[in-house]
Every structure is written in C-alpha cells, then in structure tokens.
C-alpha cells in the first residue's frame, strides 16, 4: 500500500511541470520568437536609419544614429501628392472598416442558424461554403471583374467591400465556434421571452467574442493589404497602400521614405492585433454556465 502511494507521488512529481521543463519551454519560445521578430526588427531599424546607413554594405541590423528624417521626408512627399493625403486615409478607413465590419456581422448572422437551427438545405449550404474556400480565387480574376462590371459597382468602394462581406472563411470559423455553445443557454433565453434576434445579439455574440475578434483581426489583415488596383480607377478612391507604394517606388532617392512606408504598413495591423487580443482575454473569464 505504502509502495503504491510512494509510486503515485513520484509519478505526479514527474508529470507536473518542473523548473527545468519550464526553462526548456521558455528557451524554445524565445528561439521561435526571435526567428519571427527579426524581419520586424529590421523594418523598425531601417525606418530610423539615415540614408548613408541604409546604403551601407554589408548592412547592419541595428541603427547607429537614429533619426526621424525618413518620416519628415515621407510627410513632405505626401503634401506634394495630387489628391490631398487625408483622402487616401479616409478611403482606407472606409474600405478596411467596411469590409471588416460587414464580414464579421454578415458571416456571424449566417453562421448562427447553420450552427444552431435545423432546416432543409443546411448541409448542402455548408458543403458549398467549404467548397468555396478550397477554390483558388486568385485565378478567378476575370469572372470577378465581369461580375463587378455587371453589378455596375466598378470603380466604387463597394467593389472591394461587398465580395469581402460574403466570403466563406468567416462563416466557417463562426459556425465552428457557435456549435460549441450549449443549447441550454439559448433555450433559457427563449423561455424568458427573447426572440431570435435578441438571442443572437445578447446571448450568442457575447459568448463567442473570442471568435469574432479573431475573425476581425484576420479580416482587417486581409483588407489592409488590399491596394484595390484592379477595381478602383479614380485617384480619389484609392487606398493609402496605393499612395504609399507610389511614393516609395520613386527610386533610390526615396529609400528613406520607403523604409518609413514599410514601417507604417506593418505597424497598423500589429497595433490592431494587440488591442483585439487584449479584449479576447478580458471577456472570457466570465463565460460558462452552471448546469
């Protein structure tokens, strides 16, 4: 009896994480993390380098004499642009924000019945969603263009926002998370007299907040990288990305401005990610039901 007890204690000690195990995991994470952060370190340092350091050979990772010259260069170039620069920023906010909000809301709305209701045609619809995700949409630029012209939304924001709203990925992600919610949660809300609309907004959505915040991060990233050059022809409609590329593509003399541009393009989605991640953590501590 005693031997068995001793054995158990020993086994537990081995299986619970030890100090050495923690250190090992920590080292592993540092190694992986370093590999990932290196390009960003380069981007940050490059945007602070004066021109002579940018062209130094062999290049150094870290900046010697940090300067904000690159940014002032960039702002000066911005002022020279044909369309006021604030217009580009507004365009980007509208396109990225519209595409992200539209996608999250519409996909969540559609995911709720797919996850929690029973109706004919449900499985077929879901299979179609998976099929649509597998298809390589880069190849379908011609049909996309024909459809956009057919709808007469060519050369408007809608040409970028509407297709983003109804992509299958968000629906799939939201459905997988909503399926995990216990039915009793919704049932109790219905017994208290909530209609489906209220159940959706007040019960389902708050409980899958990590899921839709994840989706928002994901979609923001997708929309942010969009230069919109296929569908937008007017200069007044083009997003920030496009303008920044125009500036940085001006040859070696603009290398500094280009480095600053790279920094801005990287910094915004990272900031957005940090904000969203923080909210994911704050909400989930309170969820869960008592049976």
């Amino acid at each position: 009896m005693k031997a068995i007890k001793l054995f158990r204690v020993k086994r537990e000690k081995r299986l619970n994480r030890s100090m050495a195990g923690n250190t090992l995991l920590f080292l592993l994470m540092i190694a992986c993390g370093l590999a990932m952060i290196l390009p960003l370190v380069m981007v940050v340092n490059n945007c602070l380098k004066p021109l002579d350091e940018l062209f130094q050979y062999p290049p150094k990772i870290f900046v010697r004499n940090p300067t904000l010259e690159n940014f002032s260069d960039l702002f000066r170039l911005m002022n020279d642009s044909w369309v006021p620069f604030s217009r580009y920023i507004l365009n980007t906010i509208l396109i990225t924000g519209g595409g992200m909000l539209g996608h999250v809301i519409i996909a969540s709305l559609a995911a709720y019945p797919l996850a929690k209701h029973r109706f004919p045609g449900k499985d077929t619809l879901f299979r179609m969603v998976v099929l649509s995700m597998m298809f390589s949409w880069t190849v379908t630029q011609i049909p996309q263009y024909v459809i956009i012209s057919w709808l007469h939304i060519n050369n408007t924001y809608m040409a970028l926002i509407l297709p983003a709203c109804s992509f299958g990925m968000g629906l799939y992600l939201m459905k997988q998370f909503m399926e995990q919610l216990p039915d009793s949660l919704m049932e109790s809300a219905r017994l208290d007299g909530a209609n489906e609309w209220q159940v959706f907004w007040q019960i389902v959505m708050p409980n899958v907040k990590p899921a839709w915040l994840t989706l928002a991060i994901f979609q923001f990233q997708q929309m942010w990288g969009n230069t919109g050059s296929t569908f937008l022809r007017d200069e007044e409609l083009k997003p920030l990305q496009y303008a920044l590329f125009q500036i940085s593509a001006g040859g070696a003399a603009r290398a500094g401005a280009a480095a600053a541009v790279t920094f801005i393009i990287a910094a915004v989605p990272i900031t957005f990610f940090l904000i969203c991640q923080k909210n994911v953590l704050e909400t989930m501590t309170t969820s869960g039901i008592k049976e």
């Binding site: 960003l40 290049p59 519409i106 559609a110 209701h117 040859g251 990287a266």
Partner: protein, 307 residues
C-alpha cells in the same frame, strides 16, 4: 376557417434562420457561386479577351483542355502531386506546432500580449503589401542583404549537409525506416515555413482554449487530476472540434500558396490560356477537397461535441 398550415416551433425557427442567412447568401451567390460557374464554363472553352467594355468571347472546345492538361502538358501532373505531397507533410506539423504554441501562450505570464503578437507577426509580414514593400527596400539597398543571406545560407548548408548525412546514416544503421527518416528530415528543412504558416492557427487555438469553461478545470483539479491528465481528458477533447477548423484553414491556406495555384495563375496571366488555367484550378480543387473530406471524416469519428 383557418386554412393556413400550422408550423411547428422548430420549423418557424428554421424560417427565421433563412432570414439570418439571406444577406450572406445573396453576396455569396453573386460573387462566388457565379464566378465558380464561369470558371467551369471557361474550362470547356477557349477564351479570347476582346477589347472593349470588359468583353470576352468563348469558343466551345469540349474536353480538349482537360485532355491536354493530363496528356500533353509538361509539368501539371508533377506539380499537382508534389503540391499534394507537401501539403500532407506540412498540415499535421502545422497543427501540432500551433496547438503546442497556443497551449504555451494561453498560460499566464508577464508580457503575454507582446509574445502573442510576435507569433502573429508572420501572418502580418506575409501579406502582399508588406512583402512588396520589404522587397522594394531590399532592392534599393543594392541587394546587399540578399547576397549576404545567400553567402550565409551557403556556408551553413555545407556545414549542415555533412552533419545531416552523418546523422541520417547513423539512424539508418539503427534500423529506422527510411520513410520515417525522410519525413523527419523534410520536416526539419521546413521549420521556418511551418512556423510562419501557423500564425492564424495559433490564434484560433487560443480562442478555442479561452472558450473552455473554467469550471471544467476546477472540477478536474478538485478530482485531483494532474496537469498531464487534465490536458488529455479536458483540454484536448474540448479543443478537438477546432482541430478540424484549423485543419480546414491550414489546407486552404497551404493550397492557396501551392505551386499548382501558381502554375494556374501564370498560365492565365502570362500565357493567357484561361481555359487551361481553369482546368488546373478545378482539378486541384477537386483533389484537395477529396483529401479534406477523408481527413475530416477520420477526425470527426474521434471528436466529442459538447451538446
């Protein structure tokens, strides 16, 4: 009096469900179903873009494109098999790695937000916009970074190659099956790809871990479960449905970056052979779908659903 057929409660709810789906479905039908149908049409025809208001004309060719793709095209079959093979190697590795990382990043430690952001970086850095910007600034620095990187990797590979050969021989002598060994070496060679392809998966797994009710862990602790037991009996079963989610995402993501898609893209936009390119994308989509269906079925059997 009342001729109207009474609907049951669940049927009524189902009807409301259609209303919820409608906005999404309209967009889906217009943008995606329609362009899918058009792509299928293209695959049976020869497409010529005619100048003017976005016009094109189709000339029916039957199965000719399909036959050409399989019988005459130089690289399609090899590209397809190698892409599928790579996918089969990468997908399990990405899934294990991202689950492992999510478990680590889900723990409480200082600076967790920053560390998570670091692991999400590859996704951000992989975007087209940023890649273009970075390569632009690299090109402007007279390719200094590129040449140096090539020198370093050249030197490293000559050192590594010696060690690898030695190690592989040693393991073969120990009697390890060559197939296992080649899988491991292929995996090691791709560590960077795997790490940088698992950003979104880590996030999905973290969200999945966050949505496990804390009462589950409390019960496990009260019952005296060790951390090891808690993982296998509580965490893994509850995360299992999201393993499928992540697998689907990984396959989609991997596929969209694979050589087959690149081949289809270049066929369409540098050789302007839209019909053939449509055939490539349809065939590769069907193949990946089949693989996906098999894998999902295999995992779903062992999955526990909360309700």
């Amino acid at each position: 009096m009342k001729e109207k057929r009474k609907l049951t409660l669940t049927q009524k709810r189902g009807l409301k469900g259609y209303l919820f789906i409608l906005p999404w479905f309209i967009g889906f039908a217009i943008f995606y179903v329609r362009s899918l149908i058009m792509t299928v049409e293209f695959s049976f025809a020869k497409l010529t873009v005619s100048p003017g208001a976005g016009g094109y004309s189709l000339e029916g060719k039957g199965l000719e494109n399909y036959l050409y793709a399989f019988r005459a095209h130089g690289s399609f079959k090899q590209t397809l098999t190698s892409s599928v093979g790579n996918m089969l190697i990468d997908v399990p590795l990405i899934l294990f790695f991202s689950l492992f990382m999510a478990l680590l990043l889900n723990q409480k430690f200082r600076g967790r937000g920053i560390v998570r952001a670091i692991f999400f970086l590859p996704v951000i850095l992989n975007s087209d916009a940023l890649k273009a910007a970075i390569s632009l600034s690299e090109a402007m620095m007279n390719g200094g970074i590129a040449t140096q990187a090539a020198e370093v990797s050249g030197a490293a590979s000559s050192v590594l190659a010696f060690d690898l050969d030695y190690l592989i021989n040693m393991f073969v002598n120990f009697g390890l099956p060559v197939k296992v060994l080649s899988y491991v070496t292929a995996a090691v060679g791709r560590i960077n790809d795997i790490i940088s392809a698992s950003g979104v998966q880590i996030i999905i797994f973290i969200a999945a871990l966050q949505s496990i009710p804390s009462s589950m862990y409390e019960v496990a602790r009260i019952e005296g479960a060790t951390a090891y037991e808690t993982f296998w009996k509580v965490t893994l079963p509850l995360v299992m449905p999201h393993v499928i989610t992540n697998m689907v995402y990984t396959i989609v993501d991997h596929f969209s970056r694979s050589d087959v898609v690149e081949l289809a893209y270049s066929t369409a936009f540098t050789e302007f052979n839209y019909g053939l390119s449509a055939v490539f994308s349809i065939i590769s989509t069907v193949v990946t779908l089949l693989i996906l269906a098999l894998l999902v079925r295999a995992i779903q059997k062992n999955t526990f659903y909360y309700n």
